[in-house]
């Protein structure tokens, strides 16, 4: 780069260019924020709206935009054109691929050891359970979005169906968690089929909006059907899970008493941790196995080219439907787990924001990569926890991160979406077959 004299000389006049660009950015920012930041409105005690000015904040933000755009431009100059191939030295590449192969087993072993290592730290265990719940949701949605390529913006609906199934069955009929868990999955899958059957003929973007609308319908029904769901107050007193019938309580029939050890409330947390880990690993295992079955291959083929699939005689509707139902079933399992962990659920836990979060995890994870989804869930939920102090700005930062990550890596952190099967042998094709109009 530095050997190129043209590149050197072209840098000299760029100072004026950078200044001009940054000034324009600052001017745009000034107009954008002039009223929204510069003026603050609030309803006074008598209900009358009043306003006051905040020109200091406005000036600070405009200055930040000005400085920021200078820095970004300087960074762009230093980084060079985007298309330049960056050659990684061979030893680094070798180390990276070794790390890539080792990271999954190491991560799994570490996850198994978390309750042992952090037995006394309730906060870390709770955070671990939360991350694993999202890993499971991510893997479940990965079947729909990552493998079959169907954009589902209403995944939280199936999560809600699972959670309410367990909550209502357990509180009304006294059924135990282990009976309700498969029922919750089946019911969620049933709803998946019910929604999927009519709408899966639609194109991708329409499907996204229909699933979004479906998610909102489920939430609105949960809020308004007060006699069944308790409305906005939700369902309380959901029974805690038992170890196949043995409750984790301090009583005489509890697990601690049976094993002859002293009771501790941490036992339940550790039990929940391993429960969600088992559920998540089940999701992962089923997905990996399904990818090797004809149905899994059909999903991947569908993602790559729907028209070609139809030409090959794959029934696209039933193929999509199985993906949709499978993903919904795992969402239902996760929902049942969520209900038993919280002991209380309300429609507020099932907003569109949750769907977007899970979808962001799947897309950042690289759409189809199981390891990527797990890492993305860890990064997202961990990142959320880091910003817990800035409660007001958390969603703002989340939205910005989503936009910036899409611009930076549209294919996700681990951009892996190679089909499981492909032709090893390169076929020579005559040039008269590949000219335009013939494929």
């Amino acid at each position: 780069m530095s050997a190129n004299p043209a590149a050197q000389t072209s840098r000299a006049p760029s100072a004026a260019f950078i200044l001009k660009k940054s000034l324009i950015s600052a001017l745009v920012a000034l107009v954008l924020f002039s009223l929204m930041i510069g003026v603050r409105t609030e309803a006074g005690p008598d209900g009358q709206l009043t306003y006051w000015t905040r020109f200091g904040d406005l000036a600070a933000i405009v200055a930040a935009v000005f400085g920021g755009s200078i820095l970004i431009e300087l960074f762009r100059q230093w980084w060079g054109p985007v298309d330049t191939a960056r050659i990684v030295p061979a030893p680094v590449q070798g180390a990276l691929s070794l790390a890539g192969r080792l990271i999954a087993p190491v991560l799994l072993a570490f996850t198994f050891l978390v309750p042992v290592l952090f037995y006394d730290e309730r906060y870390i265990l709770d955070l671990g359970i939360l991350v694993l719940t999202y890993v499971m949701l991510g893997w479940g949605l990965n079947v729909v979005v990552g493998l079959a390529g169907l954009l589902d913006l209403g995944y939280v609906a199936f999560y809600a169906v699972g959670a309410y199934s367990y909550a209502l069955l357990a509180t009304n009929f006294g059924l135990s968690f282990w009976i309700c868990l498969p029922l919750a999955g089946i019911l969620a899958a049933f709803w998946g089929v019910l929604l999927g059957f009519p709408v899966l003929r639609l194109r991708g973007d329409y499907l996204a909006i229909v699933t979004l609308a479906f998610g909102e319908i489920i939430r609105l029904v949960l809020i308004n059907w007060q006699s069944l769901t308790g409305g906005p107050n939700g369902v309380t007193g959901i029974p805690r899970p038992t170890l196949f019938g043995i409750p984790l309580t301090p009583g005489d029939d509890g697990l601690a008493a049976m094993l002859g050890i002293e009771f501790s409330p941490t036992h339940r947390i550790v039990f929940l941790f391993y429960l969600i880990l088992a559920l998540a690993l089940l999701t992962n295992w089923v997905t990996i196995r399904l990818r090797r079955l004809p149905i899994g291959r059909a999903w991947e083929a569908l993602r790559e080219d729907e028209v070609a699939c139809r030409a090959l005689g794959i029934n696209t509707t039933t193929t999509k439907l199985t993906a949709f139902a499978t993903g919904a079933m795992f969402g239902g399992f996760a929902g049942a787990f969520f209900a038993t962990r919280q002991g209380f659920i309300s429609p507020e836990s099932f907003t569109f924001h949750e769907s977007a979060l899970v979808l962001a995890i799947v897309v950042l994870g690289g759409m189809g990569s199981q390891l990527g989804v797990a890492l993305a869930a860890l990064a997202m939920i961990g990142g959320f926890e880091l910003f817990r102090g800035l409660d007001q700005y958390r969603m703002l930062v989340f939205g910005m991160a989503m936009v910036l990550l899409m611009i930076w890596r549209p294919r996700g952190l681990i951009g892996h979406r190679a089909p499981t099967v492909f032709l090893e042998r390169k076929e020579a094709i005559s040039s008269d077959l590949v000219k335009e109009g013939h494929g």
Binding site: M36, E42, P198, V307, M406
Partner: protein
Amino acid sequence: MDYFAQQLINGLVLGSIYGLIAIGYTMVYGIVGMINFAHGDIFMIGGFIALITFLILISFGLTAIPLILLVMLLVSMAITALYGWTVERIAYRPLRHSFRLAPMLSAIGMSFVLTNYSQVAQGARVKPVPPIITGGHTLHEGADGFVVQLSNIQIIVVVTTVVLLAIFTWLVSSTRLGRDMRACEQDQTMASLLGVDVDRTISMTFVIGAALAAVAGMMYLLYYGLVDFFMGFVAGIKAFTAAVLGGIGSLPGAMLGGLLIGLIETLWSAYFSVEYKDVAAFSILIVVLIFLPTGLLGRPEVEKV
């Protein structure tokens, strides 16, 4: 009958607001082929800017209502249009040739940014304004004492919508910009080969869509007398439903769809239940897509390999 007539008027007014938002969705979808998820929030920003402008004008001692309304409209359209331009520039342009899901997710992220930005900047509480335009006309007084009212604000909403729609139709059908837009809609590569600045045309599409959303935001403020930071989400989905119902990509379709959605929502609230009015609107979306995937006035899409 009188009750029905009153609901019809209310529904048409609400439908005009939805129609104005739906035009933004349908134009962007027609040209770029993406659902501009942040459009509902642009509508909300437009409402906020109109509100703040109104407060400032009042505190300066201005009392001439028509002048206040005109300044509100112009300021709100101008600043909100800049929001639309900025959103396109930051979140969508770098992803124009990326894979299908990327701009969609970027748009969802942008929607979160805008919602929470206005929550942080203006607070989470609902902002009520006193009625700016009062008065109305009694159209018909029934024997049972039920009065069919047409308020001045309803007239203003409908008249503004019709005028803007006329200007807009003229813009698309007989100006250079409109021709460029239609050219980009058909084939972007060919349009750029023939000297159409595609980037600029797409930017202008977002600017016009945002300006119309700002008008809708201001009408919402005048009609309901309040704005809050979360109103963009539901209004956005309903407007999108309207765009799909009318046939996405078709401008008269968007307006027709908006009116229908407004009517369905109002009549449902009047005769069935207010709680389930959003459920009704969203169910319409699902039913329409199942039986009429191209909408009422849309063209069927040819599948290309």
